[in-house]
């Protein structure tokens, strides 16, 4: 296996384009090293992004919203004053990932491209209506975050593409946002992760808009559209929230593994969806944190 550290984005994209399926991007290595160790991936060329300092920027402006370079570490997101100010839910989500050790090196781009079931950022970014930029020598395309996750540990990123940036639009910043994670050991990915972003109408009880992202309970993270539909434009109440949560639980497609059975995950989705929606509604979210 060869190891290269391109010094610029252009060079990195050229290297990827020349190597096709034989090349593999290395970000923080927190998942990839394990995959290499287990022999699950066997690239001929490892293309490290660690010298691409442009990809570690965090920027905010009122028109563009929040922009995070793909190589921003999870620790940097958790501790960034900009993220804490404009999108506290994302900073908090980041702080719930694995351990300090993993967060020091693990990047947001790597987390999204690995698409580990139960990863925390994906549902949060779905609720925040984020987009990602994918660059290659052929050009740049922007994808809605939910479209990135194409299957079980699969993404829409092509072998010659790099995920370069994550964008959160201004409309998603401020307001009520909650991410709840349920896991047995706190260093584990989520058995169930639910992110809710909710806008209340002027009367304080009608749900003007809502976006729900869900992780851990199906092959890929997804947007819980049917639950959203039940609540959007309606008065929020314990009953309407319970009804929406029941629908979400009926629709999910969980697996059974050593961490929990499919039945347990489904049940917990209902519970955590209810808590997250209630938290988004009346601010009482913290009680349910893992």
């Amino acid at each position: 296996m060869q190891y290269v550290e391109p010094g610029s984005l252009t060079e990195a994209l050229q290297t990827l384009s020349q190597n096709g399926e034989e090349g593999k991007v290395l970000a923080g290595g927190q998942s990839l090293l394990l995959m290499l160790h287990l022999g699950l991936v066997r690239p001929a060329v490892l293309v490290s992004l660690q010298r691409l300092s442009d990809l570690t920027a965090i920027a905010y402006d009122p028109k563009g919203g929040l922009r995070l370079g793909a190589m921003t570490t999870q620790r940097a997101i958790e501790t960034s004053p900009l993220v804490r100010q404009h999108c506290p839910m994302l900073a908090r989500t980041s702080s719930l990932i694995a351990s300090v050790h993993v967060r020091m090196l693990g990047t947001l781009g790597g987390n999204l491209c690995h698409n580990l079931p139960g990863a925390d950022p994906p549902p949060a970014l779905i609720a925040l209506d984020a987009t990602v930029l994918l660059a290659s020598t052929r050009g740049v395309r922007e994808l809605a975050i939910a479209e990135l996750f194409s299957g079980f540990m699969e993404t829409a990123v092509r072998p010659d593409e790099l995920l370069t940036e994550i964008r959160i639009p201004p409309a998603s910043l401020g307001g009520r946002a909650v991410y709840l994670k349920h896991c047995v050991r706190s260093v584990d990915p989520a058995l169930v992760g639910v992110a809710v972003r909710l806008k209340l109408a002027g009367d304080g009880v009608t749900c003007a808009d809502l976006r729900i992202g869900v992780g851990g309970v199906s092959p890929t993270p997804y947007r819980a559209g049917s639950a959203e539909k039940i609540l959007r434009g309606q008065r929020l109440s314990r009953d309407s929230i319970s009804a929406a949560s029941a629908v979400a639980a009926a629709e999910c497609d969980p697996i059974t593994d050593a961490h929990g059975s499919a039945r347990y995950r489904r049940k917990m989705l209902e519970v955590f969806m209810r808590r997250a929606l209630t938290g988004g509604w009346n601010g009482d979210g913290a009680a349910a944190l893992c």
Binding site: M1, Y3, G29, L33, L34, S99, V100, V102, L105
Partner: protein, 160 residues
């Protein structure tokens, strides 16, 4: 493929020839004989392999040696100065936070990074930082109190 690299470990420079896929853990143990970095799960969970990379705790099983070039690496062997233990090491011994000792280098290095950045952590912060380290012997209460006691000593100037 093998690459010539220079690694900066505990203030010294080492020139080595390493294979691209080799984790830093293996190079530290096998090539540099720094066996304080322990081999445990090799999957990012147990923290036995913890070292400091540019002063922050990382799992050395999850870092490629070729990617650690130009970084400051600290292992447990680099903590004592002139055979004088670091206050954290002393506190672990004094408070019974060590039994078999397999996990101790990882815990102590993680705690060092915490105290270097935040000299007065509360116990929940200590627990949060130590989440990436597993101990099968002591239970965690004595480890947490050793870290808090060491923090007190460092503040009182009774050590570094």
């Amino acid at each position: 493929m093998k690459y010539p690299v220079t690694l900066g470990v505990n203030g010294e420079s080492f020139e080595l020839l390493v294979e691209a896929h080799k984790p830093l853990l293996h190079v530290l143990r096998d090539d540099l004989n720094l066996t304080g970095a322990r081999r445990g799960c090799e999957s990012g969970y147990c923290g036995a392999c913890t070292v400091l990379l540019d002063r922050q705790p990382v799992h050395s099983c999850s870092v490629l040696a070729v990617a650690a070039v130009g970084k400051e690496i600290t292992t447990i062997e680099g903590l004592a100065v002139n055979r004088q233990l670091h206050p954290l090491q002393e506190a672990f011994v004094a408070d019974g936070a060590i039994q078999c000792g397999y996990c101790s280098p990882g815990f102590i290095l993680t705690a060092k990074a915490l105290l270097d950045g935040e000299p007065q952590p509360d116990s929940s912060t200590v627990r949060e930082w130590l989440k990436g380290n597993i101990c099968r012997c002591t239970g965690y209460a004595k480890i947490v109190s050793a870290v808090l006691n060491a923090a007190g000593k460092v503040r009182a100037g009774e050590g570094r």
